[in-house]
Amino acid sequence: MAEMEGYVGRILRVDLSTGKIWTEELDKSTAEKWVGGVGLGAKYLYEEVPPGVKWSDPENRLIWTSGPLAGSGVSGAATFNVMAKGPMTNLAGASQANGFFGAYIKFSGFDGIIFQGISSHLVYLLVQGGKAEIRDARHLRGKDVWEVEDTLRSELGVKERDVSIFGIGPAGENKVLYSAIVGDRGHLAAHNGLGAVMASKNLKAVVAYNGERNFGIYDAERLREKNKEVFEAAKTFGVIYEWGTGGGFSALYGIGALPIRNYTTNIYPEHERMNGQYLRTHFTIRSKPCYQCRIAHVKEVTVTEGPYKGFVGEEPEYELLAALGPVIGNTDLGAVVMLTREVDRLGMDCNEAAWTIGWTMECYEKGVFTQKETDGLDLSWGNVEAVRELLARIARREGYLGNLLAEGVMRASQQVGGEAADWAVYARKGVTPRTHDHRGQDRWYELFDTCLTNTSTIEATWAGVHPKFVDLEEPSDSFSHEQVSTFNARYSGIRQFDDCVGTCRLAAPNPKLVLECLNAVTGWNWTLEDAFALGRRVINQLRVFNFRHGMKAEDEMPSTRYGSIPGDGPAEGVNIMGKWPWMVENYYRLMGWDAKTGKPLPETLRNLGLGELVKDL
């Protein structure tokens, strides 16, 4: 085949039922239509997972795809996407992880890997030099993801950065529905239970080797110039360069967007002892950057005060600070570092875990759960040692509560029923939002998006932040139902574009610069319009997939608590739900979908090059 700059040009196929391994060419037309990452994932998922296939069936695919920028030298570009039919929603699930894998899998000879089937025993896959081998992993059973990394590196006789390893922990092995795929010491593809899908295939880990760049770059000089601009843009992108994602913690508190005690209050005076600024000025930190990342926001941290003084772990990202801090009523930053290590090594999505435990603590406070149900655990707000034990029980599905909570907060709350069913925070498609309080008016972008997005169940708009990056006008009133709904529709697609190309949104936050890097690498001449069209193609492909797999438009809304009215704090009394139906209809129309059913209209699909899907609706 002719060389395609930015691509190795090969997809690795692995049938775990038969042990067969083969490769397929990634042809030019496919690359130009779907690019990579979530785009290629959407293509293969749609084509190969028909309606009726369950998430744990051998016919489900587990699709790991890199993108053309991964490994190209663009700052931090080693992101890959994992796609499957996910157990939380029983719909399409897509999640991106950073670290090294997105680059290393290309250096190992492939743009992506597609797993199918179910192995008869626990295995791992080793990929190196254009070849792959399925290896026995029974000795890794029960090991957490850190132990898996340590064991495999030791067995392979390699150093830390010689290989990238992603795998599942005990939570995955026990099919906790929100288990994650974790690797490179703390990077996760966390959403929609993709770790459980991996476990269902008896696949414990994937190892990819570092190596030389084995694909062309169309205009290396231009790429170098643009990469400098990418770095400059990242340095001035909010507070992240200086303070990490935790630098926004108190800012969110100030507008009522910090999630506190399962949305029962918005008061948390300890916020300044729990934020990124405090952490980086009081704890000891050491940079642990992702592949060729120049902003290096990922750190290792040593706790220097409090009960966990001396504990060494990864610096909690914002989501973890919120999840393992205010959501569960914890006010000790050192404990967040400790719990971060726990939830990561067990292999769980921190968001779902936190909302599940926060709901459990509210149930305990209100007497729905007693120490009989908790098997003796005192689940009072902020009891971090009890949370540590509960996380372990969930990962093992141990006892009544461990097994119940392993299903996630929507299913757990529905099983318990009564008033408690209304206390759970989730989007009705089946999963939870990021650990924000999206009810405050300046967060409505994200609440709306979390309930309606199709690429995953995580928001894709970034809340109207920096619309000028992509030549959109800032809404004059982000507290307007009309403007929020309209803005989300106009912004829709560009973040899915990001998730196709293999870059990190923090290291390369400006999509127009990412686009210029894409053109420099591939030799394409894409416009911003093309980038939006790619993202919308992905959205619509997955939306049709979701409808075919049972999605209902009436599920595109928040749970009772998620859409409730804050009772105190900066956003007290604001109410999004009064105009929800109007927002949804407006959004559907602007997206080119039927205003009532939400199904993509035939002309919308045809305009995006998806005419072949019309018959499927």
Binding site: A251, Q277, S476, D477, P570, V574
Partner: protein, 104 residues
């Protein structure tokens, strides 16, 4: 004349000079005296003229609008940008400026 409070959660302590009091690493506070009838927009226009870092990072002197990467609360409540500029300040009012933040 009335007194109002301006609080910036923008880690700008040293940049702002001695008029601002540091409450923490990120929070700086200014107790300002303004004429009755002063609006929030007018007050921040004056602050941007007087304190160059505010003109650069908080309130655009040309457009007389808050910069795109900050959000504002009024008396510790979220407030619509369309409402804030014309809001007439009262005794003891507090305006807080915070960095915009999303995702996580």
């Amino acid at each position: 004349m009335i007194k109002v409070t301006i609080e910036l959660w923008l880690s700008m302590g040293e940049e702002l000079g001695e008029d601002f009091r540091s409450l923490s690493h990120m929070r700086s506070v200014l107790e300002a005296t303004v004429k009755e009838g002063t609006t929030v927009g007018k007050l921040f226009g004056q602050l941007a003229d007087r304190y160059p870092p505010i003109g650069e990072k908080v309130f655009d002197r040309k457009t007389q609008r808050f910069c795109g990467d900050v959000v504002v609360t009024f008396n510790e409540r979220v407030i619509s940008p369309s409402d804030v500029y014309g809001r007439i300040l009262g005794r003891g009012d507090k305006i807080t400026v915070l960095p915009v933040y999303a995702g996580g």
